[in-house]
């Protein structure tokens, strides 16, 4: 503990000393760490962050459902269901392989441009749809890993009791699968939270975009620092929650394998 503290102080002390004594430090300090600008930007960037949170919550809700549907389709082994399996495989390959920003642009700029009757041109909606399409591909693979990690003997036991295939999946396989993948699932949610900033490229003014606007008005980058801090305030608690869940699972596993 003592060694860790001393070592940490020395390492970060040296880094801080090098930065503060750098020739450009006085200018950098004014452009990035201006206390007045910080206080001024804070409430406005916080208001923008509410948009990020809204995008995140709506997207996460649909991702968690749609990804499960994809994972189930991909896990179907019966020959009859091959088209569904094929669809899921192609879908996941496609949306995992393309950069999020590309999908956001294509949907957010392309679909409103088509001016289809009855189809919304709200960029918030299309930004969320793009995030759902992309992230459900990742989350589907996490679900699938969980489903496959449940030993076939569990399904055999359930079927032997007379439960149908659907009942077996619903009551025996899925609950165990989800429990096991909660940490990687939350990990993806952290990634999604960061990606909400990409929707700003379509126009909605969220935290990052608000910071950009304030920064370019004053030629001072402190607002970026504000938005960075705010993102960390959202994602770090989630990261600690993941750590805690993983540690708890490990303890349970150790206790179970006496």
């Amino acid at each position: 503990m003592l060694i860790a503290t001393v070592s940490t102080l020395v390492v970060f002390g040296v880094i801080a000393w090098v930065i503060v004594n750098a020739p450009g430090w006085p200018v950098a300090q004014r452009t990035f760490f201006d206390a007045d600008r910080f206080a001024d930007a804070w409430p406005r960037v916080v208001a923008g962050l509410l948009v990020n949170i809204a995008i995140f919550l709506v997207a996460a809700f649909f991702i968690l459902i749609w990804a499960l549907v994809l994972a189930i389709m991909r896990s179907l082994d019966d020959a009859v269901f091959f088209p569904f399996k094929l669809f899921a495989v192609v879908y996941i390959d496609l949306f995992r392989g393309l950069p999020s920003i590309l999908i956001i642009y294509v949907l957010g700029l392309g679909i409103p441009a088509l001016r289809l009757p009855g189809v919304t041109s709200d960029v918030f909606v299309w930004g969320v749809v793009a995030l759902v399409l992309v992230w459900s591909a990742y989350v589907a693979e996490v679900y699938r890993a969980g489903i496959q990690s449940v030993h076939p003997s569990q399904a055999a036991a359930a079927r032997s009791l007379g439960l149908s295939g659907v009942q077996t999946f619903r009551y025996v396989v899925l609950p165990q699968a989800i429990r096991r993948v909660i940490p990687p699932l939350l990990n993806d949610m952290i990634g999604l939270q960061k990606d909400t900033a990409l929707v700003s490229f379509l126009g909605p003014v969220e935290a990052f975009r608000r910071a950009q606007i304030i920064a370019s008005a004053n030629f001072n980058f402190t607002p970026y620092l504000v938005s960075a801090l705010l993102f960390l305030l959202l994602t770090i608690p989630m990261a600690r929650l993941v750590d805690w869940l993983v540690a708890r699972d490990r303890r349970r596993y150790m206790a179970g394998s006496r």
């Binding site: 003997s153 569990q154 055999a156 036991a157 359930a158 079927r159 032997s160 009791l161 007379g162 439960l163 149908s164 009942q167 009551y171 025996v172 609950p175 165990q176 429990r179 349970r252 206790a255 179970g256």
Partner: protein, 256 residues
């Protein structure tokens, strides 16, 4: 050999010409077996002789390649039968217990009665509690399986199968994963069930137990039943040289 007729009462299970292979590997080459109601049949034989596969086939957990399986007069291997309905009346207990780790003991037992038999929850729980009490497990009611010893888990697995009120119970080497000291408590349960008249087919390595509890012992070798008969005959005067060889090895290993 052709199966002998049922020894007691009416026929509970009939297996005719059962063939099962996994890829190129033929595991069962033609099983003939008849089990009477209230009869206890023990399957013995080396590991890999097909005992477990036979039980899994009878429970329709493995599709069969040829032959027929008839339970209480109805062919369960016929085309278009309701597999889920058949499995309700055939209980199976596995070597590795296969309890559902995310559910309490009570929920493990009541899941199928509630979801499959559509029993009201209260009724299913009352029935489960009665079974738990009968087998000395009532204080484990709200525990999760991981908290229980192997012997307790296996007894819960037996109770879970019994809760569906099966007409026949298949036990697949249910003591093989247990500490020797825990084997006795599980065997006591089986003995209890045998006295209560439960029809059972038991794959086992516990020769002493088989000799003690079985009405009939069947020796599997090379994917078929090479010899069967009352335990007294099989264990003391086996007709087949292979049976004798197997039993000699078992005695050598101190298991009989």
């Amino acid at each position: 050999m052709t199966p002998d007729g049922p020894l007691l009462g009416t026929e509970a299970l009939r297996v005719e010409g059962l063939v099962k292979s996994f890829g190129d590997h033929v595991v069962l080459t033609g099983i003939e077996l008849i089990v009477a109601e209230h009869e206890v049949v023990c399957l013995i034989g080396a590991s890999g002789s097909g005992k477990s596969t036979l039980l899994r086939c009878i429970n329709l957990l493995e599709p069969i390649d040829a032959g027929r399986i008839v339970v209480e007069g109805a062919e369960i291997t016929a085309h278009g039968v309701d597999v889920d309905r058949i499995r309700r009346s055939i209980g199976i207990v596995f070597q590795a217990y296969n309890l559902f780790p995310h559910m309490t003991v009570l929920r493990n037992i009541t899941l199928a009665p509630i979801k499959v038999l559509k029993l009201p929850r209260v009724e299913a729980e009352a029935q489960a509690e009665e079974l738990l009490r009968r087998f000395g497990l009532i204080d484990k009611r709200d525990q999760v399986p991981d908290r229980l010893s192997g012997g307790q888990q296996q007894r819960v697995a037996i109770v879970r199968a019994l809760a569906m009120q099966p007409s026949i119970l298949l036990l697949d080497e249910i003591t093989s994963a247990l500490d020797p000291v825990l084997v006795a408590e599980v065997l006591a349960v089986i003995r209890d069930l045998a006295h209560a008249g439960m029809t059972m087919v038991i794959a086992t390595h516990e020769m002493g137990f088989a000799r003690d509890i079985a009405d009939r012992v069947a020796f599997l070798e090379g994917g078929r039943i090479l010899e069967e008969g009352p335990p007294a005959q099989i264990f003391t005067a086996p007709r087949e040289a292979r049976t004798r060889l197997f039993l000699d090895r078992v005695i050598e290993a101190g298991r009989l």
